[in-house]
């Protein structure tokens, strides 16, 4: 099956600083794909290149196999929802939504029906005559989405659309977006630095850092099997430790031996080890792999979060059991929950590494 959009070896620099370096990415029809990464990782630039607002220095942008590098944004079959909404302040809601339709010369009746449909879709029916300034941030965002989707784009580009909203509203809008995506049946390309947003909404998550794609996969893959320390650190909380792969299915961490399920790393090879805080099981002293003492305890609602000093490392642990500060405990991990990763070898890959 051919993909809808292909980015082929895209490079882009601003003032001599490389933002994207030979980036390859393909987007399938009807996919919710999220570009996730810290600020400055190149995710917004990637989106702007797809939208046509930036020209890549090198590489091709293919839409259904055809190069669209020379096609200006107003001629592309995609629409963008901007970070700060970018509603036209001198037009009311109706005029904002109608803008694209009027430009493409649609009939009055068609435009009126479309506006009504779009407002219903974003749960703002009856807002036609309101002014932009009279809407809250969340409402403006919905209008921005409505304004984009009435043009029936094949792809909707969303540039941190929820960034300016407060937490509760953001969570509501996440569900809204998923619903919209399902109702419209079009492709969403979504940019965010919020890993929770990415995991909640996406079919596919692309984790980026410093102009490179770090890992691409379903939210489950990204979370459960991070390919390198950066991804592990960026997605969720984790304990990242230096380890030595003694042999297949046995890794040494902090001088203690842990059983694991990974094979094929060779013997006595230095590796990065990732253990998610919720995967650590606390036992009575002596019953686990290594012993330690609880040094911090915070109640988080769903669970307790603890820090345990053990083997000279501060372990982050999430558990429903409460262990007060000073309690001696023992740490144990299911072999299946220990994630082994190669250390970055070349200098290029070093750039990928976690910045502490």
């Amino acid at each position: 099956m051919g993909s809808l959009i292909d980015l082929v070896k895209i490079s882009k620099s601003f003032d001599g600083a490389k933002v994207l370096d030979e980036l390859d990415l393909s987007v399938q029809e009807n996919e919710f794909i999220t570009l996730l990464g810290p600020s400055g990782c190149g995710k917004t630039t990637t989106l702007r290149i797809i939208g046509g607002f930036e020209k890549p220095d090198e590489g091709q942008v293919l839409f259904e196999g055809k190069d669209i590098a020379a096609v200006p944004p107003n001629k592309r079959h995609l629409n963008t929802v901007f970070q700060k909404y970018a509603l036209f302040p001198h037009m009311n809601i109706e005029e904002n939504i109608a803008f694209g339709l009027k430009i493409s010369g649609k009939s009055k009746n068609y435009i009126r029906d479309k506006i009504r449909y779009a407002l219903k879709l974003v749960n703002l029916d009856g807002y036609e005559k309101r002014s932009v300034a009279s809407l809250s941030g969340g409402q403006q965002q919905r209008i921005a989405i409505a304004r984009a989707i009435v043009n029936e784009p094949r792809v909707l580009l969303l540039d941190e659309p929820l960034g300016a909203l407060d937490l509760k509203l953001r969570q509501d809008m996440q569900y809204e977006l998923i619903r919209l995506k399902n109702e419209l049946g079009i492709t969403f390309i979504y940019v965010t630095h919020d890993q929770e947003e990415a995991l909640t909404m996406s079919d596919k998550v692309v984790v980026m850092n410093q102009g490179y794609i770090q890992q691409m996969g379903t939210p489950e893959e990204i979370y459960n099997e991070p390919e390198n320390a950066f991804v592990a650190d960026f997605i969720g909380d984790s304990n990242i430790l230096n380890g030595i792969m003694l042999q297949d299915r046995l890794v040494e961490i902090l001088g203690y031996q842990f059983a694991c399920v990974d094979e094929g790393f060779g013997r006595n090879k230095p590796v990065d080890v990732v253990i998610r805080p919720e995967d650590i099981v606390l036992k009575q002293p002596g019953e686990g792999t290594l012993d330690g003492v609880v040094s911090h305890l915070i109640f988080k609602g769903v669970h307790y979060e603890m820090e345990v000093q053990a083997g000279g490392f501060e372990w982050l642990i999430q558990s429903t059991g409460c262990y007060p500060v000073g309690t001696p405990v023992s740490i144990s991990v299911d072999p299946f929950n220990i994630q082994i990763m190669n250390k970055p070898a070349s200098e290029d890959e070093e750039a990928i590494g976690v910045d502490e």
């Binding site: 939208g51 607002f53 200006p72 944004p73 107003n74 001629k75 629409n79 963008t80 901007f82 970070q83 700060k84 970018a86 509603l87 036209f88 302040p89 001198h90 803008f99 694209g100 430009i103 493409s104 304004r147 984009a148 043009n151």
Partner: protein
């Protein structure tokens, strides 16, 4: 709190030096030399010489305002687009000429437009017939445009620079061409700047007496010349005040007309 009182000296000054003096003009305009109430000073505008001066002033002011707008708007767009739009540079470029005295700058156009001046010199050098430039209404318009162009450029430029680029990108994203972006986004959003630019060019153009004196050869009289003469030569201050009042009415009408376009926005030059 007493912080509000800090505006006190300002208020007193502005009331004493703007509001009260305006009252004086009204008083003088509505009385004759003996102090009796009269409308004669106002109706004096119907005297053919006065009416003609007002008409000519209105016409030339409208023309020079339009020319200023047509020159300034593309300039604002270019400055917005190119990196040259740093505020300091533009203000620098357009305020600096004011340090060459206003009268001298206008005088210099005499040299340029004269019968044997710079332009005709160039024309005769090229073997072209010379033009009569000085002492024509066109020369006056020229002087107005030259003197007041900065007052159009600065507010237009300021408002254009304030337009968020993402709004322009959004329009392009929704299919608008460059032309559509100009007419549907940029121009409507820059109305406050345009309105304040028009005000700041139209009013001094309408009321000037220096420019027609210098470039009109003293033969073409605008309403400003008539008023000036009443105060300095003719010394009928009542008539001068009356004509000023009539002129102010026209300014007021044009302001109200403009205000219809600029709903609630306060365009600022600086």
């Amino acid at each position: 709190m007493s912080r509000k009182l800090l505006a006190g000296p300002y208020l007193i000054w502005m009331i004493c030096c703007t509001v009260v003096p305006l009252g004086m003009i009204v008083y003088y305009g509505l009385t004759d030399r003996s102090g009796a109430f009269t409308f004669a000073n106002l109706s004096a505008i119907t005297v053919p010489a006065h009416a003609k001066a007002l008409g000519l002033a209105l016409l030339l002011a409208v023309i020079s305002t339009l020319i200023c707008l047509i020159l300034a708007y593309p300039l604002g767009l270019i400055l917005r687009k190119t990196g040259l739009g740093q505020k300091g540079f533009v203000v620098f470029l357009f305020i600096l000429p004011m340090w060459m005295n206003f009268l001298l700058r206008t005088m210099a156009w005499q040299t340029i437009l004269e019968k044997h001046g710079v332009i005709n010199g160039i024309l005769s050098f090229l073997g072209l017939p010379s033009l009569r430039l000085i002492n024509t209404p066109a020369a006056i318009v020229m002087g107005m445009v030259y003197d007041f162009l900065p007052f159009m450029v600065l507010p237009v430029y300021n408002v254009l620079m304030k337009i968020d680029n993402s709004v322009v990108e959004a329009a392009r994203d929704l299919g608008a061409s460059n032309r559509q972006i100009l007419f549907k986004i940029l121009i409507p959003l820059s109305v406050p700047g345009i309105v304040s630019g028009i005000t700041m060019v139209f009013i001094p153009s309408l009321t000037t007496f220096v420019i027609p004196n210098m470039l009109g050869g003293g033969k073409l009289l605008l309403i400003g010349n008539i008023i000036d003469q009443e105060f300095t030569v003719g010394s009928n201050w009542h008539l001068g005040s009356g004509l000023s009042l009539v002129m102010m009415v026209f300014i007021l009408i044009s302001m109200l007309f403009l205000a219809k376009f600029d709903k609630g926005g306060e365009g600022n030059a600086f």
